[in-house]
Point group: C2
Chain length 344, copies 2
């Protein structure tokens, strides 16, 4: 049985979902994969920080959050360590970076990840910021230090869009990747097709927790653009940055546009795409009218989907959830299991 000690940097929804999965799946993981994961540290600016080299109790962590909204009163040998002290001074083998996302600077997650990799600790993260901004640098640092960096949760939450492309389709050449990479905008477009106005659909998305109070990042396409950059870097070996993505959101799509597409047997989708062209790799996010027969046309609501165009298999499409507490928590577990598989 191989044991991994984990430090969670951040303890919001995703961290709690991940902790719940570990609490419930211990027996299955031991039996199927001969592996055990033990949370030894949690460090969260608001909810508190704990470190016990012998392991923290997942059930107690989740109960404290549920009952009090924080973990500050739980017993532990060490309390109140900040993120960097937690990364530097705990006995964790792997750092789970799930602090907040900043697509402009990548901080503070970027510093967390650099620090952990420099110590030879594995990193898994669902944080798009540092990965969209600095993946090539971070991947090189990981290789140099003999550590691994897993970023599955940055695109389509726990749906394994990156490892399908990198590992399972790794022997093909991928010439194009396109997908519905943002659930909020797909939900809004689906509701508009059902008759809602843009404002009504946005309000519904906010009510359901799909869209944030300030929905700019979703509806202007920036979130999808970050994912497109990650796909370009990981699946097409193209070191693009955010500035390379031609980006247009859904705010200009009108009910008349929707009706016109419907009448023509088509449907508006916000499509993120990276494509090998005659003049290099081109990346874009924009609303496109696609025929109903296209595999991406039937993806409705908050579901995400990605189509890989390859030399040997032509098109392969993967459809699954793009967000959610357990769904994104699973991305972290999937990465840890892949690291375990690759380390045997």
């Amino acid at each position: 049985m191989q044991r991994y000690r984990l430090a969670l940097i951040g303890f919001g929804n995703v961290g709690q979902g991940f902790t719940q999965i570990l609490r419930d799946k211990g027996e299955q993981l031991a039996r199927r994969f001969d592996v055990q994961y033990q949370i030894v540290a949690v460090s969260d600016l608001l909810k508190g920080s704990l470190y016990d080299p012998d392991g923290l109790d997942a059930t107690a962590l989740l109960e404290a959050i549920q009952n009090k909204g924080h973990i500050q009163n739980l017993p532990a040998p060490h309390q109140g360590w900040d993120a960097l002290k937690t990364i530097n001074q705990t006995n964790a083998d792997a750092v789970i970076e799930i602090s907040y996302t900043d697509l402009k600077t990548g901080e503070p997650a970027l510093t967390h990840i650099r620090t952990a990799l420099a110590l030879g600790k594995h990193v898994v993260t669902t944080n798009k910021g540092p990965i969209a901004l600095r993946y090539p640098e971070l991947a090189a640092l990981a290789r140099e230090k003999g550590a691994e960096i897993g970023v599955e949760g940055t695109v389509m939450s726990g749906t394994p869009a990156l490892r399908v492309g990198q590992e399972l389709l790794g022997g093909t050449s991928i010439s194009k990747v396109q997908g519905i990479l943002n659930g909020t905008t797909n939900y809004i477009l689906t509701q508009m097709e059902n008759g809602a106005s843009y404002q009504q659909a946005l309000a519904q998305a906010q009510e359901l927790g799909y869209a944030e109070a300030d929905p700019t990042g979703d509806v202007e396409g920036h979130d999808a653009a970050g994912k497109v950059v990650i796909l370009a870097n990981l699946l097409m070996e193209a070191p693009l940055t955010m500035a390379d993505v031609s980006c247009q959101g859904i705010t200009q799509v009108s009910p008349a546009d929707i009706a016109e597409a419907k009448a023509a047997g088509e449907r508006w989708k916000l499509i993120g795409a990276v494509e090998q062209t005659g003049h290099g790799v081109e990346a874009s996010v924009k609303p496109l009218r696609i025929p109903l027969s296209h595999p991406l046309a039937s993806i409705s609501g908050a579901t995400n989907a990605i189509t890989y165009t390859t030399d040997l298999l032509d098109e392969v499409t993967l459809v699954g959830p793009g967000a959610g507490r357990l769904e994104t928590g699973y991305a972290l577990l999937g990465d840890l299991l892949a690291i375990h598989r690759n380390s045997k």
Copy 2:
């Protein structure tokens, strides 16, 4: 650079497609994965058998097949070895089992695979027969001998349906798997929806090479049933056999049925399914009317698709080719790369 020496048992379409891929992908595989594959032996009852411990030339093998239909005149230190002698006496590290499929006995592939694994040689195969009949025994033998057995090509050709379920979704619990697992019948149903009669659609499928002269295995659902058994064994740890699958093909689906479904906003699909139920795991192949909004409804023609129902990600669907020379050849390469990844 890790080198693997390969023995191909069978040199039909799939073996030739695989050889073509190795011929064209050497540089990419070395650069991405630090691995090299060298065919040292080919043994085919009709096309001839060659063995060179230092490696055979992929280009020469393909040219001989193209120009003469056999490889009997190519120079090699050893000629005419049968399958078992090739498995037993060559220096191959991995045996590529791609002889013909027999869903009743699994032979001769079953003996080939047992022999190779007993010698500690890895086996990769696209042959449903032995896997649908004896997977638990073969997997146990592989584990005991420290070898690996890769069977990705037995379901959906090179579309990585098995490794997505086993590896990438391995931390979830899969309660149900259902899919369109046979391209021939899906093509026929799609053509019938477009107005063709069953006989016309079958004739078209035969013309295109999708259906064999005797189409029984496809249209009666036996091919899909074999795949369902494999999915049950690999993804749900349920040791089902062919006899456990309730199996019904598409020969009873009439143009009137098709029209009736169409009028109701539904579509007939031949669905293979395995499901965890209150009274154990149940497996079936049968034509079902599914709503157009279902992800499997939009899968048309010879394309295949599979939906995994999981505890943590709800539904994840994978769509891709279900047959083809390069597509199935890629399944073999995908398995070899996975063995390489897992062995590092």
